[in-house]
């Protein structure tokens, strides 16, 4: 296995992380969707590289599914959704963006620290990828926490899945095929249900602002 492949994968990992930061900082929904698609693309790239390097053929399948799902279908659905629901902007974040970036950096440091001792066990090409995957997951989590509208929250959720998928492919050469299929199915069904939900919420509250969804509480 050539060091070049490792470098390529690391490059994709870096791109993923960068996009994660960008999503954290992004205010416009449309751009968020673009970034999400871009992240998917990076994921496809890294998966293909791993598949190529290790000769694990099922990873090509994984890459294919990922491409179909995360680069094509989901962004399309999301675009349709925001067109139909007529939401393009998401001005309000709950914490201001510089603070969020700062927290994001701390998270990256934290994730790297966590991953450092275990990535040495990795037989895989790119050792740093696990840390990056974890950082991506945590940053998507942060994004979900700080967004106050439904659609960006969902995108955060999907970005988290991307991080997970990246961990699965690059750190472990992919999960067994059955599992991956299952995961993909779940994500797809989840998206459909989410779509249904969005409409229901919209219908009920005339808005996708999740501030409306704060009635059930202990008072």
């Amino acid at each position: 296995m050539s060091p070049l492949v490792g470098q390529v994968i690391n490059l994709f990992a870096a791109v993923l992380l960068l996009i994660a930061f960008a999503m954290l900082a992004q205010r416009r929904i449309v751009t968020l969707i673009h970034l999400f698609a871009l992240q998917g693309l990076a994921l496809v790239g890294s998966t293909t590289t791993v598949a190529f390097a290790t000769g694990q053929h099922h990873l090509y399948w994984s890459a294919g599914i990922t491409f179909a799902l995360k680069v094509v279908i989901l962004p399309l659905i999301l675009h349709r959704l925001i067109r139909r629901l007529n939401v393009k902007w998401d001005i309000e974040t709950l914490i201001n963006i510089p603070t969020m970036m700062l927290v994001g950096i701390l998270l990256v440091v934290f994730a790297f620290n966590l991953a450092l001792p275990i990535s040495q066990f990795s037989q895989s090409i790119a050792r740093g990828t696990l840390g990056i995957a974890m950082a991506c997951v945590l940053m998507s989590f942060l994004m979900m926490i700080t967004r106050s509208k439904a659609v960006p929250q969902v995108i955060g959720f999907l970005a988290m899945e991307n991080g997970l998928f990246f961990a699965a492919t690059s750190a472990t050469y992919g999960m067994p095929m059955v599992v991956e299929l299952g995961i993909a199915l779940d994500v797809l069904v989840g998206m459909v249900i989410l779509g249904v939900f969005m409409f229901q919420i919209r219908e009920q509250f005339d808005s996708l602002d999740i501030h409306h969804l704060e009635k059930l509480k202990e008072d």
């Binding site: 934290f110 966590l114 945590l138 942060l142 700080t146 967004r147 999740i210 969804l213 202990e218």
Partner: protein
């Protein structure tokens, strides 16, 4: 014959339990048939009670018998054991419940909430679970039956559940019982010493360190204290007893409280091998505080059943004082004295079971005849209900602890055991214990005050309400029940030596020594637990002497003088407009006590002004433990739950943040 009987005793006890359960089921089948339930099932159950008492008394001196039931946890079927201690309490249960059940047969009528058949079921479940509590020989069986007992009695208390107050009383009762039960459970957790074996036999074999043993003691005192009504856990008692139908109050006060005493004895004398002396002082202090508190509050009550409930608290206090003393002696291995104190406690258990049941049943009859519980609206019932009045009078004398009744015997024994504390090795205890004795005496004397108030206001004087003149005396079954308990009180009072002989095997088993009584068993007349020179008391002689003096005096007066009587109106002080409402009231009777013990009470008074056209005087006396303990606990809980409520403010971002923080925190933990 005795051999055979002794061999089969535990099976006999189980048959009785099964019989009770069967009667309960039969009651369920005859849900609304009052006649069947009252005339057949309850008297039948009373017969079973008598049988149980007989079996228990036969089994008492024998060797412990065991049995294993096929139910329970997989490795822990119900272990049962009938030893002297449980036999004694079973006999107590049998004796008291026989009278109560017969009375209940005449008492329960239609239209009081729960249908009679269901009531019959709860009632017999209650009886059966009490019997099983006394038989249980492993922690699980004990706890299951213990809680069944609480549960069935809860349903009995809330028989009349349409009334919100009664519901509240039942709730409070079950809550305290449940918290207490958890404490008992934890106590067993300590005693099993991590062996995973919950049989009492295993617990006996464990040698606990002083720390763990003290934990067990504390937990048992809390747990059983909650059931018995030791300060400040007594709070449910004065609520639940008035709420429950009278036979149920009788059963709860007379028997159920004793199961808690049984538990205390079982744990602290049987299961824990090595008691520490300071446990005894704690029990003494708590017991005395409970007794004083109970009796002082009893004096201030204006509801007859509430008064009796506080009086029960007092009696439990005295019993615990005796147990505390026994623990102290036991810790110093002064076996004979420990036996004396323990015997006093046990004797008092038995006495209290009978006379308090009798008094509660008496109030039941009064309640039925008048539909009135408030002392302020009763009076003069002796003329309309002579049978109830005279039987109650026996209970009153016993409760006041006066000779020649049974109540006096146990107080006498208790005071005797106090007088030997000069031999204690610990100088502080030597000084402290006489002070406790003084307290006990004070309680006993105050009990007399309370009982005069109780009897005098209900049965004596003139009827304070018109309708009381229509009151009818108790009939058939009710009379039988009252008579049974009255006879019990008298016999226990007159033949204490026989009772102490029964108690002897228990003290031998628990503290290793019986009373000296058994040494010269021929002297059945004279109660002299240590030696005749030290102290002696012969109630029978005492009673016969008094009786003969009274009779001789009567005969002589009639012989030498005359028996003429003229009826006239009482002396009215020259004030002709006297009505029955002008009699002294229950509030008035309690007034001196309220004044002397003012700091105890939380009193609210509404005093009329001289210009009121319709003057009203109202005084409410509250239990200070409410404000001091319970309301504070409630407030703290409230505050805590308000704080906890802040966790859930409805914002999904915050919820996600919780997950996030939890995740990060746990991940950080892995790095440690």
């Amino acid at each position: 014959m005795a051999q055979i009987a002794s061999l089969l005793a535990i099976d006999g006890a189980l048959i009785v339990v099964a019989g009770w359960l069967a009667i309960g089921v039969a009651g369920l089948a005859a849900l609304h048939n009052v006649r069947l339930v009252g005339r057949l099932l309850f008297p039948l159950s009373a017969l079973l009670s008598v049988a149980l008492a007989g079996i228990a008394l036969l089994a008492l001196p024998g060797t412990p018998q065991t049995a294993v039931l096929a139910i329970g946890l997989p490795d822990l079927p119900f272990h049962l054991r009938l030893d002297a201690l449980s036999a004694f309490f079973l006999a107590l249960l049998g004796l008291a419940s026989a009278g109560i059940s017969v009375f209940a047969g005449g008492y329960f009528r239609q239209g009081e909430g729960t249908p009679p058949g269901l009531l019959c079921m709860h009632y017999h479940l209650f009886l059966a679970s009490m019997a099983l509590v006394l038989l249980a020989d492993d922690a699980y069986a004990y706890m299951v039956t213990w809680e069944m007992m609480a549960l069935s009695s809860f349903f009995l208390v809330t028989t009349n559940h349409r009334i919100a107050e009664i519901r509240k009383a039942g709730y409070l009762y079950l809550l305290v019982a449940h918290v207490g039960a958890i404490a008992i459970l934890l106590c067993f957790g300590v005693l099993q010493a991590n062996t995973g074996d919950y049989t009492f036999a295993n617990m006996r074999a464990q040698h606990l360190s002083p720390f763990w043993a003290s934990c067990a003691f504390g937990l048992s005192l809390f747990g059983f204290g909650a059931k018995a009504g030791i300060l400040p856990l007594h709070i449910w008692l004065p609520e639940a007893h008035p709420a429950a139908p009278s036979p149920v109050s009788a059963l709860m006060s007379g028997v159920m409280l004793k199961t808690a005493v049984y538990g205390l004895i079982r744990v602290n004398f049987d299961l824990i091998a090595t008691p520490l002396w300071w446990w005894g002082t704690i029990a003494l202090g708590l017991g005395l505080a409970t007794a004083i508190f109970g009796v002082v509050f009893a004096a201030a009550q204006v509801d007859m059943k509430r008064l009796l409930a506080y009086s029960s608290i007092e009696n439990i206090g005295l019993i615990v004082v005796g147990l505390g003393l026994a623990i102290v002696f036991n810790a110093y291995r002064m076996d004979a004295l420990a036996a004396l104190a323990l015997a006093a406690s046990l004797y008092h258990c038995l006495n209290h079971a009978l006379f308090k049941s009798l008094l509660f049943l008496g109030t039941g009859s009064v309640l039925h005849a008048t539909h009135e519980r408030s002392l302020g609206k009763l009076g003069g019932l002796m003329r309309f209900m002579p049978f109830v009045a005279w039987t109650t009078l026996v209970g009153v004398i016993a409760s006041a602890g006066l000779p020649p009744s049974n109540g006096f015997v146990s107080e006498w024994l208790l005071l005797q055991s106090f007088l030997f504390t000069g031999e204690l090795p610990n100088p502080y205890l030597r000084m402290l214990v006489p002070v406790f004795a003084a307290g006990v005496v004070l309680v006993a004397a105050l009990a007399g005050y309370v009982m005069v108030k109780f009897f005098g206001v209900i049965f004596l004087g003139r009827p304070r309400e018109e309708k009381l003149a229509q009151a009818r005396d108790a009939d058939g079954l009710e009379r039988l029940g009252l008579a049974w308990l009255t006879a019990g009180c008298l016999l226990l009072g007159l033949f204490p030596v026989a009772v102490l002989e029964v108690i002897d095997p228990i003290t031998v088993a628990m503290v290793g020594k019986g009373l000296a009584q058994s040494g010269h068993a021929g002297d059945w007349l004279m109660l002299a637990p240590v030696s005749a020179e030290r102290a002696s008391y012969s109630p029978l002689l005492f009673f016969l002497l008094t009786l003969s003096i009274v009779l001789v005096a009567f005969a002589l007066v009639r012989r030498f003088y005359h028996g003429r009587v003229r009826r006239a109106a009482p002396w009215d002080c020259g004030f002709p407009m006297q009505t029955a409402r002008m009699q002294d009231t229950a509030e008035g009777f309690g007034q001196p006590i309220r004044q002397i013990f003012e700091p105890f009470f939380r009193m609210r008074r509404e005093l009329p002004s001289p210009f009121d056209s319709a003057p009203r005087y109202k005084v409410t006396v509250e239990d200070p433990m409410w404000a001091w303990v319970y309301l504070r606990i409630a407030a703290v809980t409230e505050a805590a739950s308000r704080l906890v409520g802040l966790l859930q403010r409805g914002r999904i971002s915050i919820y996600l943040l919780y997950s996030f923080v939890t995740l990060v925190a746990l991940l950080s933990l892995t790095q440690l």
